[in-house]
């Protein structure tokens, strides 16, 4: 088996002072794949991506056990700018743009870290941004802001792009557009993607492989097409049985796991 692009080996992640959020997680992201992490609110998806990108440091969190390797190099608890230099770039949840700057200035700011500003690539995938390039980003729509966030990550020429809930709070049509762009980035630019989502349906559409994270642990993993067919996933994440109450579902799942 070829070695994966990213491998996370049994990590524990703790926020200051003693809040343990990830309790022994392992996962692999194969080169040239789209891998997704699904899970409900508070499962630890964001924490996992923060740990991989090193941004966890800014939140006074650290990896207290296990290791993370990228291209065979250990990266756990490294500075985020060092990790991004190796090719791991993180688009955090909630439209991480600079609202008080214009679109162009957003690009300039990130270009400071990378020397060049390859605006063409940004506008190629997100042509709407070009129309608004002089506009203050705070005035853009939510969808446009999310597009800019992904565009900013492109300036870093990522090998591995970490996307945290890009669909959050956006209309289905915009989500569709975004996902189309992500798929194209993967296919045309050869970017490997690790995608955290609550929107399991959308994520499993484009992913090759998926992990399901609950309460800081991985409870299920498999190829995307298998997960799409999995009874539990169908029921609890794809919402195909809306009459089942969340509580009953949880109870049912717990029972199932313990038996």
């Amino acid at each position: 088996m070829p070695s994966p692009l990213l491998s996370v080996n049994n990590i524990e992640v703790v926020y200051h002072p003693f809040i343990m959020v990830l309790k022994g997680i392992s996962l692999r992201v194969e080169n040239d794949s789209i891998t997704t992490i699904l899970g409900p609110n508070g499962a630890g998806k964001t924490t996992l991506l923060r740990a991989v990108s090193g941004v966890i440091k800014l939140y006074r969190g650290r990896i207290t056990r296990g290791s993370i390797s990228f291209l065979g190099e250990r990266i756990e608890n490294k500075e985020p700018d060092k990790i991004s230099r190796k090719g791991v770039v993180y688009v955090a949840e909630g439209r991480q743009v600079f609202r008080e700057l214009s679109v162009e200035e957003n690009i300039e700011a990130v270009a400071y870290a990378w020397g060049s500003s390859d605006t063409d690539t940004v506008y190629k995938y997100f042509p709407r941004l070009k129309v608004h390039r002089r506009k203050r980003v705070g005035y853009l729509s939510g969808g446009e802001q999310q597009m800019l966030a992904i565009g900013l990550a492109l300036l870093a020429k990522p090998k591995l792009l970490l996307l945290d809930e890009p669909s959050l709070g956006l209309a289905p049509r915009i989500v569709h557009e975004l996902y189309e762009a992500i798929r194209r980035l993967h296919e045309e630019e050869g970017i490997t993607v690790l995608l955290a989502e609550q929107n399991a349906k959308k994520a499993l559409e484009i992913a090759d492989y998926g992990y399901i994270l609950e309460n800081g642990k991985i409870v299920l993993e498999g190829p995307a097409e298998k997960l799409r067919e999995d009874k539990d996933v169908k029921e609890f994440y794809l919402g195909l049985k809306p009459e089942t109450s969340y509580r009953r579902a949880k109870w049912y799942r717990r029972k199932k796991r313990w038996i």
């Binding site: 090193g54 939140y59 200035e105 870290a113 990378w114």
Partner: protein, 286 residues
């Protein structure tokens, strides 16, 4: 009086911008700022007394201010990251006394103060008369303001610093060196403190009370809004004109108004417009 308002307005702007740069990245007030100005002004005084010449003295002061700024970020702000702002305010108050103590010890017989040189000539611009030291002070202050505002406005570095100030978490994900840029903001703040202190020294001589002007400049920061850069000059001028003209019209009824005007301004701003007149009205779109 107009002249005094203009000169003081620019000087206050320089010093106030130092508070703002720190606030933007660390969301707290650097109470050591006045003592950075004091230490730098004394360094310039000692240097010029040793016959090093004005430019060298100014350079030394600048390096000291910039260096103290960086050290404060490293040694005080960074370890306190994620704590409530009060922690940083208290810690910088500690540094205030530390720096003052060091200044008293290190300057020895120079502590009583002195002049940074003779700029005797008188200049007339329209009806307003400037002394040579006013002009020297203005020049230093305008260079400091121009440099720091220019960098923020027109360079890639400056845009990156603005981005990091607004959203360090997002910036870190895209590979921006958040810690380095945060430290640089503190460094620029220290530089402004130093050059502001130097400018006061040029205008009125270096003295142990020079830091009290810097504290007053905090009123200009609040007027502008602590996170504003563009509003700072307006804040500085509103403060200086309030002081000068308030004192002129009120000194019969409220003797010493000029002395406390800054603090009254602070109080009023905090009560009526806590984000200042140019502070960000955050554009949120959820």
């Amino acid at each position: 009086m107009v002249k005094e308002s203009i000169v003081m307005g620019v000087l206050y702007s320089v010093l106030a911008l130092g508070f703002n740069l720190v606030y933007r990245v660390s969301k707290s007030i650097n109470l050591a700022h006045p003592e950075i100005a004091l230490v730098a002004a004394y360094a310039a005084l000692v240097a010029s007394m040793q016959g090093l010449g004005f430019f060298l003295a100014a350079l030394i002061a600048s390096f000291i201010g910039f260096g103290i700024g960086i050290l404060l970020e490293r040694g005080v702000a960074r370890p306190l990251l994620g704590r409530p702002p009060v922690a940083l305010i208290a810690a910088t108050l500690g540094v205030f006394y530390l720096l003052r103590g060091v200044a008293i010890e290190a300057t020895g017989s120079y502590w009583s103060g002195g002049s940074l040189g003779d700029f005797g000539t008188v200049y007339r611009i329209g009806a307003v008369v400037f002394t040579g030291s006013d002009i020297a002070a203005l020049a230093v202050a305008l260079v400091a303001l121009g440099l720091v505002i220019g960098i923020h406005r027109f360079t890639r570095l400056g845009v990156a610093m603005r981005a990091v100030a607004e959203n360090p978490y997002g910036a870190a994900g895209y590979g921006l060196p958040v810690r380095r840029l945060t430290a640089l903001s503190w460094g620029f703040a220290g530089l402004l403190g130093a050059l502001g202190g130097l400018a006061f020294g040029l205008k009125a001589g270096v003295s142990p009370g020079i830091d009290s002007y810097v504290l007053k400049a905090l009123a200009a920061s609040l007027l502008a809004g602590l996170d504003s850069i563009a509003g700072i000059v307006v804040g500085g001028f509103v403060l200086s004109f309030t002081e000068q003209f308030g004192d002129y019209f009120l000194h019969n009824y409220l003797p010493g108004f000029g002395e406390v005007a800054a603090f009254i301004v602070m109080l009023v701003v905090l009560l009526l417009k806590p984000y200042g007149f140019f502070g960000t009205e955050r554009i949120e779109r959820l």
